[in-house]
């Protein structure tokens, strides 16, 4: 049995410990907001947080989550109140939307460490997340906008 917390809820699973966390989240836990894109930490669509760090769940064995706190897109905020989600709405960021869970989860880690990120900070934090539709310009604007919201105390 492997036990960890997902979005604040304790789970204990009988699962092969070498199974990538991604597939456990999607198939055993039914949280399909976290996406499969490449299976080799190339595209970032599967990004989740383990104890607050951005992790590519497609290459992280589920055993790595043992006893830890996992947050998926479903746990970012239940009601789109997270400043990143609000900024994404205001900038109308998604196109197909498939990569956006991973983009948001990477951006959340960036903002926690750098509440007022520069464009270079954004490049560094977001370059592991591919968007085939090409929403990068809007993602960049939305991250800056979310940072402003936090600075003004408009959220959280």
């Amino acid at each position: 049995m492997i036990g960890f917390s997902v979005n604040g809820k304790r789970v204990d699973l009988d699962v092969d410990p070498s199974t990538p966390l991604l597939w456990v989240i999607r198939e055993q836990l039914g949280l399909t907001g976290t996406k499969y894109g490449c299976g080799m930490a190339q595209c970032g669509a599967c990004t989740v947080h383990i104890n607050g760090d951005a992790v590519r769940s497609c290459v992280a064995p589920v055993s790595r989550a043992t006893g830890k706190l996992v947050t998926t897109i479903e746990g970012l905020s239940p009601d789109l109140s997270n400043p990143l989600q609000r900024a994404w709405l205001e900038e109308d960021v998604p196109q197909c939307g498939y990569c956006q869970s991973g983009q948001l989860m990477s951006a959340a880690v960036l903002l926690r460490g750098r509440p007022n990120p520069t464009d270079e900070d954004i490049d560094e934090a977001m370059t592991g997340n591919i968007c085939r539709c090409g929403t990068y310009p809007r993602i960049r604007r939305a991250i800056h906008r979310a940072a402003e919201m936090v600075a003004k105390g408009g959220a959280r």
């Binding site: 949280l31 399909t32 894109g37 939307g97 498939y98 592991g128 591919i130």
Partner: protein, 722 residues
């Protein structure tokens, strides 16, 4: 079935993208685009709603549900099509939602005659349809209110989801039951564009919230009770066939339910994806490698170059290009090459199937509903009416999910037959990239002639590449009497420049690599070749590339419009910092005009695109926010191909497997992009694809401006520049 007269020019443009439907007598063997509804009852049904036509339902709860017959793959149709309807309906936009349409002839594409999404045509082909549907509903709601108040309909007006007469007001929800008893009008009056409340405004997308919390359901997310997951081991070489397989080890692995040979390969069916994939890795497979086992793309391009030395099938012949070339004061020759490309949607292909004795349900992100349902029905051994196809969100499409053979659907039905339970087939990224149906590789050999004053007097384009249409149900209609594939030459067959002697010839290559339309189709390579060559001609004439184009586009005001706009916004005449170069390109595709200026630097052989300025003229536009997004996204898509992407074969095997060998532009490489939309009331054009073609030539021309080296091969490598 709606039949509408389409002008020849439109018709050609539309049909190149993906067919011509009943209008040109398109024949799908064994497939009827008019077989009846699969689940109409699921749509209308409720006594608590008013459904005046196939496209809208208004509930007594005030909710307006628009039924959308095109697939949402990022291009925004789940917002722009509802906007069209809601504007004419005078709906309260905050009450408007949508539903994907089931497969039904009612939802066929007005021009193509099948239910599908492609050719950047959803909005401009649906413009009339969705507006009329909204206007008809509005007229019935007014009639219901007028009846209730005992006044004339002409004394009533509508506003934000309600009918008004003086101080009296009834909401659409209050009127829904009464309106449902009325007969739909035969003729409706559409709004004057000056009265639009939604059309033309940057309305936020309806599908954004669910794409920010994990709620949006893509095909890969479909969950069914008792569902199994399958992966398929497919041949390593196109045309290879299974000789034998040993599944002794795989069969005994955890979760594995069944391993079975199907036409596509060997399917491993298990409880979960990871179990299926792990067991597939344990299969021992022996293939008969077939006739492609020695295929190599470098050898193929060599053969293309040789073939371009002889005349091809005539596509266009104005004047006497050969004679004028021979007499030209200056001659310019260039050969351009582009590689096979993968669509590489972020969501790899997948398809879920629940097959029962007398029914079949399919869930997938389809761009080709009529064809996919019919092909699924054939394999299931059921009439199409017994197959329900549910269109999920598409995690990107770019043409790949409009497969004439329904490859990813057909194999899933075969798997379902073996599984004996609901099953979802998932392609790994490697499966998706190696599974074929690529943008074909092409070679363009172009010769141009200038007179003594530097005027272009002659142009001869010879293209060599595989046909997309050949061998598909579209071939008969599309290629009849032509001897060439219009999808190969689109964008050069209608080259707008005033050059008196102009010849276009096509060589069709027969190669066993499955090819398909990829975002902007033929334009993805014709714009690169023609717009780079225009720069070479301008250079040989000693003229500014922008002014050189201007002079030859005097009879094409809309080309000129985007060209001037992009030059002005980019500051074409203003000097750039040292080490930076600027390139320009203009192109017409999918009924829209597009121009780009790229600003580029090259350092140690590394190309960096700093800024792209894009102008788009798509006529009367619907949602400028979505148009800007598509134009930016198109530029990035085109730049990715130009800078990084290439599929190559050695010994019949594709050399690329994942994002590390077939890169996509990333955040740190993405230039600053500006989009300017031409404001006019011309006939609407497409926006999903027109942003792509100009990116590669604008970047290549900018590289010349800064380095003096010509790019004649994609992806761009400075070591290959001449």
């Amino acid at each position: 079935m709606i039949r509408r007269k389409i002008e020849r020019r439109d018709f050609l443009k539309i049909s190149v993208a993906a067919s011509g439907g009943l209008l040109i007598g398109l024949q799908f063997p064994g497939i009827s685009a008019t077989s009846s509804a699969q689940s109409s009852s699921a749509l209308g049904g409720s006594t608590n709603s008013f459904m005046p036509n196939a496209f809208v339902r208004i509930g007594t709860d005030e909710r307006v549900t628009v039924i959308v017959n095109h697939s949402e793959m990022g291009q925004g149709v789940y917002t722009s099509l509802p906007m069209l309807l809601a504007d004419e309906l005078d709906a309260d936009w905050t009450k408007v939602g949508l539903e994907p349409a089931p497969v039904d002839p009612k939802y066929n594409h007005p021009a193509f005659g099948i239910q599908m999404t492609g050719g950047s045509s959803s909005v401009y082909s649906g413009l009339q349809q969705f507006r009329e549907a909204g206007a008809a509903a509005r007229a019935m709601l007014i009639a219901a209110a007028a009846q209730q108040w005992n006044v004339s309909a002409t004394d009533c007006r509508t506003e934000s989801g309600a009918v008004l007469n003086g101080s009296r007001r009834l909401t659409y929800g209050q009127l829904a039951s009464a309106a449902a008893k009325l007969t739909p009008p035969e003729h409706v009056q559409l709004k004057d564009p000056k009265d639009f409340r939604l059309i033309g405004k940057p309305i936020k997308r309806l599908d954004t919230p669910e794409k920010l919390n994990g709620g949006a359901v893509f095909g890969i997310d479909v969950k069914l009770p008792g569902m199994l997951t399958a992966v398929i081991a497919r041949p390593p070489i196109f045309g290879a066939t299974m000789k034998s397989f040993d599944d002794t080890r795989a069969r005994s692995m955890p979760g594995v339910k069944k391993i079975v040979a199907i036409p596509a390969g060997v399917a491993v069916i298990a409880d979960t994806f990871w179990q299926a994939k792990t067991a597939r890795d344990a299969l021992r497979l022996e293939w008969d490698e077939g006739s492609m086992q020695n295929f190599s793309t470098s050898e193929m391009m060599h053969q293309f170059r040789e073939r371009a030395k002889s005349p091809g099938t005539s596509v266009r012949k104005d004047g006497d290009a050969e004679g004028a070339l021979a007499r030209a004061a200056k001659k310019v020759e260039a050969v351009y090459e582009v590689p096979y490309l993968s669509h590489l949607m972020m969501e790899p292909l997948n398809c879920a199937v629940d097959l029962r004795a007398d029914s079949c349900e399919v869930w997938t992100g389809s761009q080709f509903q009529t064809i996919d349902r019919a092909n699924a029905a054939k394999i299931a051994g059921l009439p199409p009416e017994k197959v329900q196809l549910h269109t999920t969100f598409l995690g990107g499409g770019f043409g790949r999910r409009a497969n004439p053979q329904s490859d990813f659907v057909v194999e899933a039905v075969y798997v379902a037959k073996a599984a004996g339970a609901p099953v979802k087939v998932i392609w790994t990224r490697e499966d998706d990239m190696q599974g074929g149906w690529y943008r074909p590789a092409f070679l363009h050999a172009i010769e141009g002639g200038l007179d003594a004053s530097g005027n272009a007097v002659s142009w001869r384009s010879r293209l060599v590449g595989q046909s997309i249409m050949a061998g598909t149900p579209f071939a008969a209609a599309m290629m009849k009497g032509k001897g060439y594939d219009p999808a190969s030459v689109e964008g050069v067959d209608d080259l707008p420049y005033e050059i008196p002697n102009l010849t276009v010839e096509s060589h069709q290559a027969e190669i066993g690599v499955p090819v398909q339309w990829l975002r902007s189709v033929g334009h993805s390579h014709t714009a690169f070749a023609t717009e780079c060559f225009m720069d070479e001609l301008a250079g040989a004439a000693g003229k500014d590339p922008y002014q050189f184009r201007r002079a030859l586009l005097q009879k094409h005001p809309r080309h000129l419009g985007v060209l001037d706009l992009v030059a002005q916004k980019a500051g074409w005449d203003k000097p750039l910092p040292k080490g930076m170069g600027r390139g320009i390109a203009v192109h017409f595709a999918f009924e829209s005009y597009s121009a780009h200026v790229a600003e580029v630097s090259v350092e140690d052989g590394n190309v960096r695109v700093h800024r792209m300025v894009c102008a788009i003229d798509c006529g009367q536009y619907v949602n400028p926010g979505i148009i800007a997004a598509q134009t930016e996204g198109g530029a990035i898509f085109g730049a990715s191909a130009a800078l990084y992407q290439e599929l190559t074969f050695e010994k019949g095997r594709l050399q690329q497997t994942n994002f590390n060998s077939f890169p996509v532009m990333r955040m740190n490489e993405c230039p600053q992009i500006e989009t300017y939309i031409v404001d006019n009331h011309e006939k609407s054009g497409g926006i999903g694809e027109p942003g792509v073609p100009c990116a590669a030539p604008a970047i290549a021309n900018a590289i010349f401006a800064v380095t003096g080296k010509r790019i004649r091969k994609l992806p761009i490598r400075m070591s290959e520049a001449v």
